[in-house]
């Protein structure tokens, strides 16, 4: 169990923050290279014209997931020390639906807007300002909807393999199958709706 290293080596928060900065650079670099800094390109995903967003996202999920599953299987990583998102189902669905509306209206999600900001996209700057306002409103509203916000918790750290009571490896296999099916679907849709010259 040598991973996560910050825990194993008992790194100070300064060195941990340095790691955060370096990893962030890689994250931002590949986001921009993937085309996430351009709202037009992002939005075309939702018209099946340019499926870059979902392709990049699912490839990234599958890559990181395979790594985590392998490390876990060989006892290299202590999953108890890994952040796993809590599963509040109904607030999660509500938030997801609102975010989806925000995505198609605004063209960015916060992570991609940050990359857009870095490459001087004016709409991205405005988008992040809007995001800050939306979050401030949420922070003011959450105390009044606190019971809803805390509702339908099915597990602070519950994962799909635990929920369906199957092994991590099998879950990984299903996710890969799902991703492959989705990639195939995306390619077909792009060929059908996409404008060849528009692509990249």
């Amino acid at each position: 169990m040598i991973f996560p290293l910050s825990h194993h080596l008992e790194l100070s928060s300064e060195s941990n923050y340095l790691i955060a900065f370096l990893i962030g650079i890689g994250f931002g670099f590949f986001l921009e290279q993937g085309g996430f800094g351009n709202a037009n390109k992002l939005a075309k995903t939702f018209y099946f014209r340019d499926m870059t967003v979902v392709k990049v996202m699912f490839t990234a999920i599958v890559t990181a997931m395979i790594g985590l599953i392998i490390f876990r299987a060989f006892g290299l990583i202590n999953m108890d020390q890994i952040w796993i998102n809590p599963s509040y189902i109904v607030p999660g669905i509500f938030g997801g639906l609102v975010m989806g509306v925000g995505f198609i209206v605004g063209g960015y999600c916060p992570g991609t807007a940050l990359v857009g900001m870095a490459t001087l996209k004016v709409d991205a700057w405005i988008n992040v300002l809007g995001g800050a306002l939306g979050m401030y409103i949420a922070a003011e509203v959450i105390p009044y909807t606190y019971t809803f916000w805390k509702s339908t918790l099915i597990g602070e750290r519950i994962t799909l393999p635990e929920y369906f009571n199957i092994s991590y490896g099998l879950t990984g296999f299903f996710v890969i199958l799902f991703a492959l099916a989705f990639f195939g679907f995306s390619e077909v849709m792009e060929r059908k709706f996409g404008n060849r010259e528009e692509l990249r």
Partner: protein, 201 residues
Amino acid sequence: MNTRVVNVIVLLVIGLLLIALPNPQKLELKELHLPNHYHYLVETIEPELVAKMIIDDFGGFTIIDLRPASGSNLTKIDSALSLSLEEMLRRDSLLDIKYWGNLILVDDKLERMKMAAYYLSQNGLPATIMEGGFGQWAQQILTPTFPGDLASDLEVEQYKERLAISNFLQGKGDSLGGGVVIKKKRRILRRVVRQEGEGGC
């Protein structure tokens, strides 16, 4: 061959290999750590309230005794179910616990109660831990001490109430004497630590 086809095959093979990987289960107690990223929401309840809930036959809750079964457990709560932490971790399914209502966990050690609460919450079962565990239960509920000669009337009244509860729980009397009335309606749970987890985002 088409590179795309090769890529798909490679990914499928990786997927199949994943299935063959060992799937370690973290069901050993020494492997269950309270994660440090995890700002755990610990809910505690005072022993006195638990005692009153037992006497009032409140219903809708289950007290779980987390200690490993052994004959040397001097302090007991009669209505508690025995399910040791070790046994809880070994179990394949916690589904039946879902129907036990509000869970109140009791053990000698705070750490074990927290671990059990964390483990249960991981499985979607929120649980409350009893403040001070069995130690405080024995001290406060089973053997209440007289507050002393200089005690105020209120303190004497509280002592009488505690003594009545103690006697009742230990079968020394089937009614609550001394004109003690335990109110039916009361706030059951007191939230002590309230911290929200921070999303990865």
